[in-house]
């Protein structure tokens, strides 16, 4: 998907800093940190919303695809609940990108459900057991398109073949 590393590094840095502050701040200070972070996000959310309106007003037929292909733009719009493409479509699109690589190794992945805290996939193909690692990685990449905290990713076909079908991301909370 060609995500620029700086964007991901920045996100990881924010998460780490918030964890560190949470560990040392008293409840009063933490209340303010929560409010500050929420406020900064909402400020940028307003900007994003306005910008999205301007972009949509141009009537560019390829706009939705451009947005969906741009990882930081897509991720931020999803975070703010502003993404013009549905979560299902975004996940299916991500799967589409990874389909050739999976096909080469004799497997395929299909989205079956996005629930509150779990995204479910179905695995198909000859080499499911052997390609469990690839399937899990692909499912994780695709599920990331949802943009909210997902506790679990389940891959049906993988469980059926005696390989644990659940991925506990451990990043929630």
């Amino acid at each position: 998907m060609g995500e620029p590393a700086t964007w991901l590094e920045e996100a990881a840095r924010i998460e780490r800093l918030l964890d560190e502050i949470r560990a040392v701040a008293g409840p009063v200070a933490w209340l303010r940190v929560e409010e500050l972070v929420g406020s900064l996000l909402r400020l940028h959310g307003h900007g994003l919303e306005g910008l999205l309106g301007l972009a949509l007003a141009t009537g560019d037929p390829g706009l939705l695809d451009h947005i969906a292909d741009h990882a930081p733009v897509s991720g931020l719009l999803a975070l703010h609940g502003l993404h013009p493409m549905s979560a299902e479509d975004r996940v299916r699109r991500a799967l589409e990108h990874m389909r050739p690589e999976m096909a080469q190794r004799g497997v395929d992945l299909e989205l079956t459900e996005i629930a509150v805290d779990v995204v479910r996939f179905r695995a198909r193909g000859e080499a499911i057991a052997a390609q469990a690692g690839l399937l899990r990685r692909s499912a994780a990449v695709a599920a990331e398109q949802v943009g909210s905290e997902i506790d679990r990713i389940e891959i049906d076909g993988v469980t059926a073949h005696g390989v644990s079908g659940e991925i506990h991301t451990g990043a929630a909370g």
């Binding site: 998460e15 209340l31 975070l79 994780a140 990331e144 949802v146 991301t169």
Partner: protein
Amino acid sequence: MSRLGFLRRYLDDAGEPAECELCAGPLEHEHRHVVEVRARRILCACDPCALLFAGPSTRRFRTIPEHVRRETPFTAQEAWDALGLADGSFVLFGSGDQRWIAVEPCATGGAERVLDPVRWHAVWTRSELARAVASDVEALIVRRGRQVEAFAAPVDRCYGLTGAMRRRWHGEDGGADARAALETFFEALGRDSEPLPTHQEQEDRP
């Protein structure tokens, strides 16, 4: 999961995690809280973890009790007034840094103040309830009215009050909305409270 998903909780006003902050197990919407004593940090806890840290012997984590004890009338009202705290303030003993701290509601949340030891001592000697407040997990909070009452209240509820007042805060002193939040808080606290049993002091502190 998502690399930005961790930010979602700051946008929703939910603010509370979906899992126990001690064991990462599932967390009910209604759940207990545990204080990490040294950092004075309040953590959301599942029932098994809350039970685990409920004993007075645990040092690093202590479960916040649910019971509320009341002293009617508050026997240290004058000494309390001399502290000069705004309505809705509460006082707790942090055993991590071994001192009494007051938290005052304000427009930006809560302001922490270290209490003047002499003035606080005057409250402490005059009120049995003030002496009975459990370290770290309970706070003393005073309700003004026709009759002044004091409560030894769970600290999670007290911080909840601070948050509720902040969200409704207008102007210098909070205004009518913040005051209404305070009244609602005290009504619920009063309902849940029981009178302090006499001669049952829990801890001995200066």
